[in-house]
């Protein structure tokens, strides 16, 4: 049976996580599930819940700062998230159920480093930075090394996530799961656009659940620069998506289905076309 501790400040927190077999719990919606099926077996669980600095949540007009224990529900309720970072709001809203969002945290989702992480997909799109206890800041792409893997060693932890505000004219997020909620993505897509007079000045695109990590597809981002967004461009991007993703077969769907989903989801950009 694992020991459970709730340190009251970061200093105590650092002391508690020193132990090799300790694990950090920031929400626990992944951790407890993994423990129940015996995938992990920590000797000690260290909770982020009582550490005041982990509850930091703020926006100064330029940067959004999200502490290690900020839950999805708190983010959904935080007005600047909805207004200035709507793609993050969309992604979070698609996660689990209200009960899960009341416990689960964005930092937990980051550390879990699942390619199916919906919050994580938004972080990739927004070029979020990760502030680690060693004082360094990393981009999300640097921070996540592979499925379930990050650059953290066991004595380190994430203090917060920092997202800089940028203006985008259009966005699209969609998650395809096996049902409408309480579902894990079979494939997901997120995209941000700067469109002027029908021309794509800049765009970012990322896919979830179709590779070892969330995939930012820079080749599509480069390809579309300064091109007119029309049905031809959409068709071309969709083919690039089909051949660019690297899905595998699993219990939720085949690799081929995932590849087709990525191709087909690009056609939703027609909605953007109608509005731009």
């Amino acid at each position: 049976m694992a020991k459970f501790v709730m340190p009251k400040n970061e200093r105590e927190f650092r002391d508690e996580i020193y132990d090799e077999k300790s694990m950090i719990m920031a929400g626990g919606t992944d951790l407890l599930v993994k423990m129940r099926i015996g995938k992990i077996n920590p000797s000690k669980i260290v909770s982020t819940l009582r550490v005041p600095t982990f509850h930091a949540l703020g926006f100064d007009g330029k940067e959004l700062i999200i502490g290690a224990n900020v839950t999805y529900s708190e983010l959904l309720d935080f007005e600047p998230v909805k207004k200035a970072f709507p793609i993050l709001y969309d992604a979070i809203y698609s996660i689990g159920s209200p009960q899960i969002r009341n416990r689960a945290t964005l930092v937990g989702n980051l550390i879990n480093a699942s390619p199916a992480g919906d919050g994580l997909l938004a972080l990739y799109l927004l070029d979020a930075k990760v502030e680690v206890s060693n004082g360094k800041r990393y981009s999300v792409g640097e921070f996540v090394r592979g499925p379930g893997q990050t650059i953290l060693d066991h004595k380190e932890y994430v203090k917060s996530i920092i997202i800089e505000k940028e203006e985008w004219t259009h966005r699209y997020f969609e998650k395809v799961g096996q049902r409408n909620s309480m579902t894990i993505s079979i494939a997901s897509i997120g995209s941000l656009f700067k469109i002027e007079d029908g021309i794509v000045k800049e765009m970012r695109i990322a896919f979830g659940s179709v590779g070892p990590t969330v995939l930012r597809m820079h080749e599509i981002e480069e390809f579309t620069r300064d091109k007119k967004l029309d049905e031809d461009l959409i068709r071309e991007i969709s083919m690039m998506a089909y051949s660019g993703v690297k899905p595998i077969d699993d219990v939720r769907g085949s690799a081929e289905y995932r590849r087709r989903l990525c191709r087909n989801l690009i056609y939703r950009f027609n909605y953007i076309l109608e509005r731009s």
Partner: protein, 768 residues
């Protein structure tokens, strides 16, 4: 037939569930909530191979673990090791030298001071297996090269031969021939399987989550080798069953009883969700080949069906499930020429058994798909083609059963058309589709028949008893042999007792089934509890009421015919008295206020050689119209609107009835589009609800409109038939037809998962 219901006080009224408050508050007890002094916890050891010879079982390491009280194998069974309700082909524990026939076949059981130690002990049991090639599909099974059982892979075959199908096809203007496949479904009851075995000086009492206490009594008595009067079965509050607790609790109880027998201590055996899904029964996969001939006007002239059902490793209830598939294969229609052949085949997979509908939704999906396809080809509306072929009083069913009463089939069609505003619905779907590029909507129609109770094949079990007692204060205890598992039986029986006795419903308590009170009342399955236990309760109450009226008439000097008891008050002439006061007087005069009721199925004539005769006592009918929206880019389907009309004979409790139909629809919808058992080498991969996908509240359509038609059944209590299963039956077919209509291609497999539907949409296109 229509009975005047102006005199009813309770029947037909909206009555709140009698067991609602304690369930909402969480104060009632399910079996895993029970505690007994000195109790132990059980765990099972099962084979992790699809097929393997058990060469050696070594329990020594498990026994050495501190806190372990027993680790038992087949050689510890004092009585019979073989179990099975129909064919005794399933061992309680697989013996050394015999084959473990599926991933989940149990070889040993352990009991310990805590669940954790019991699980650890189960993990320490060392079983030496010799892996053998396994049969993992119907096709492989039919080759009969590897035999699952020595007797051969086809256990049993059933058929219908009505008229001359060759002549029917010769006269047809259109013949449709196609293959269909309906896959597994898991019951996904809230409460997993659980049994508490509590030994006493002569035998034991078994408490548990179950549908059929008498099955459990029989199995435990056999395995322990002790007489049935020393094995008392008391049903604990049961958190859902859906057929999954028909025969399975017999096996769980046998394992648990064995542990209690050897340790002489109370033992709780409660399955984890993963063990439950891996080891226990499912809905049968059925592959079917249909050939149906139509005249130009849509009239069916002949049906031929050839179907194979995957029974899994043991027969369990399959032969009787097959009977229902057989009878329902040709659907709800008046067809002159019918030929059906169905085989049950063994495979090295989880044994399939009872599941709400019992072998019929698989074939109803197939025939209803063909009806829609025919409507399309003949340019007839899907509703019209069903009306054209529907059964009526005077029609003969596919087994040549002449229908003489309570045939609400046409009424359900007309009613569904009305409540859906069908013509406008079609227009609005057309409008939606002309405005939307990536989402398309389709209308799906289905019309079904459902045989109520066990039917000709189960006549020997089709009876039920009741024991009703009026206490001195006028309160009433009702014992029946059927079980409440969430379906609302207790409420309906309390209503029947209340209406019959004239006592208020809040003074009536319906107890959980206990084998020491009521004679074997058959299983609580086949939508039969209202009809069978209902009639038994009614009879018992009538006997008591007669005695109470007689007592009242004597002491008040009024004619018996003048005495009326209703709403807890007895009236006769100018005299009036409370029900409780009269009960008290009866007690003081030594009047017997306890009585039995017994209802048995009238004899049904059936010829198994031709499959012709009176297949079931009566039939329920339903028509459903749904609107399904399909995302053409992902293949994902959402049901938008549901309009469903059921003929239930007589509505006893509108609230409970509506609840049953809503629940049945949602479970049928899960089966139609979401729920998928995925296997690898016979092992179920989707063994919890993160991968076995059932609908959540967000998947349920906002608009579910339910209505009933009443065409009373003269032998039913107050004219009622059954609803438990018919509530689910039309949904898979209607939804599959809705998807087909939306995408313009025929769905031939359920679940029609999004991946399957996208395949259909893109079929023929360049897949790159």
């Amino acid at each position: 037939m229509k009975v005047e219901n102006a005199t009813m006080n309770v029947i037909g009224k909206k009555i709140k569930r009698v067991d609602a408050i304690e369930k909402v508050k969480g104060i009632n007890k399910f079996v895993a909530d029970y505690e007994f002094k000195n109790m132990l916890y059980g765990a099972i050891v099962f084979s992790k191979h699809a097929r393997a010879l058990v060469k050696k079982i070594d329990t020594s390491k498990a026994k050495e673990l501190k806190g372990v009280k027993a680790v038992l194998t087949y050689s510890d069974i004092p009585g019979e090791n073989q179990l099975g309700e129909v064919v005794e082909d399933m061992p309680c524990l697989v013996p050394v030298g015999k084959e473990a026939k599926y991933y989940g076949d149990v070889v040993a059981v352990a009991a310990a001071e805590s669940q954790k130690i019991a699980n650890a002990a189960a993990g320490l049991v060392e079983v030496e297996y010799e892996e053998l090639p396994a049969v993992l599909s119907i096709e492989e099974s039919l080759k009969n090269e590897i035999k699952v059982h020595e007797s051969g892979n086809i256990l049993t075959s059933k058929k219908i031969r009505k008229g001359k199908t060759e002549e029917g096809f010769a006269s047809a203007d259109l013949v449709i021939e196609d293959d269909f496949f309906a896959d597994y479904q898991e019951h996904a009851y809230l409460e997993t399987q659980g049994i508490f075995a509590v030994p006493d000086s002569t035998g034991m009492t078994i408490y548990g989550s179950m549908q059929c206490p008498y099955y459990v009594q029989n199995a435990v008595s056999r395995v322990l080798g002790i007489p049935q009067n020393n094995v008392k079965i008391v049903q604990a509050d049961t958190g859902g069953a859906f057929g999954g607790k028909e025969d399975v609790p017999s096996y769980v109880a046998a394992q648990c009883a064995l542990l209690a027998y050897h340790t002489k201590r109370p033992v709780l055996l409660s399955y984890s969700r993963e063990v439950d899904i891996q080891f226990t029964s499912k809905r049968h996969p059925i592959k079917s080949h249909y050939k149906v001939g139509f005249k130009k006007d849509g009239k069916i002239v002949a049906i031929e069906v050839n179907a194979h059902m995957d029974m899994g490793a043991y027969a369990t209830l399959s032969p009787i499930v097959m009977y229902r598939s057989l009878v329902h294969a040709a659907g709800a229609y008046d067809v002159p020429n019918v030929k059906v052949d169905i085989d049950g085949v063994y495979t090295n997979k989880v044994p399939c058994g009872a599941f709400r509908g019992f072998g019929s939704p698989q074939v109803l999906f197939a025939i209803e798909s063909i009806m829609d396809e025919a409507a399309l080809k003949l340019k007839i509306d899907p509703v019209e083609i069903r009306l054209k072929n529907a059964l009526r009083v005077g029609s003969h069913t596919s087994t040549d059963h002449l229908l003489t009463e309570s045939v609400g089939s046409v009424s359900t069609i007309m009613n569904a058309v009305k409540i859906s505003d069908y013509e406008n619905l079609k227009r609005s779907v057309h409008d939606f589709n002309s405005k939307n590029r990536f989402k398309k909507r389709g209308i799906g129609v289905s019309h079904i028949i459902y045989g109520v109770a066990l039917g000709a094949a189960g006549q020997a079990l089709d009876a039920a008893g009741a024991l009703v007692q009026v206490h001195r204060d006028g309160s009433v205890t009702v014992h029946v042999g059927n079980t409440e598992m969430g379906q609302g039986m207790k409420t309906v029986l309390a209503m029947i007792a209340s209406e019959t006795l004239g006592q208020n419903i809040d003074m009536i308590k319906v107890e959980n089934a206990d084998t020491s009170y009521v004679q074997d009342s058959g299983p609580t399955v086949a939508s039969r509890a209202t009809l069978f236990s209902g009639n038994a309760v009614k009879e018992a109450c009538e006997k008591i009421k007669e005695r109470m009226i007689s007592t009242f008439s004597k002491i008040k000097n009024v004619e018996k015919e003048e005495v009326v008891i209703s709403s807890g008050v007895v009236r006769g002439g100018k005299e009036e008295m409370n029900f409780g006061d009269l009960a008290n007087i009866c007690y003081s005069s030594n009047v017997e206020l306890i009585a039995n009721g017994w209802f048995k199925s009238p004899k049904l004539n059936w010829d198994p050689k031709t499959g012709l005769g009176e297949a079931y006592l009566t039939y329920s009918y339903a028509t459903q119209i749904v609107v399904v929206e399909v995302d053409m880019l992902t293949g994902k389907s959402n049901v938008i609107d549901v309009f469903t009309s059921h003929d239930v004979g007589r509505v006893l409790n509108p609230v409970g009835l509506t609840g049953q139909v809503e629940g049945g629809f949602v479970q049928g919808m899960g089966y139609a589009i979401y729920e998928e058992i995925k296997m690898k080498d016979g092992r179920i991969l989707t063994d919890n609800f993160n991968t076995y996908i059932i609908p959540t509240i967000n998947d349920i359509p906002q608009n579910i409109k339910i209505d009933f038609v009443e065409d009373e059944f003269s032998e039913g209590p107050f004219g009622a038939k059954g609803i438990g299963e018919p509530s689910l039956m039309p949904a898979p077919a209607a939804i599959a037809n809705g998807i087909s209509n939306a995408i313009g291609r025929r769905v031939k497999k359920i679940p029609a998962t999004q991946e399957y539907v996208l395949d259909l949409i893109e079929k023929g296109e360049d897949k790159s």
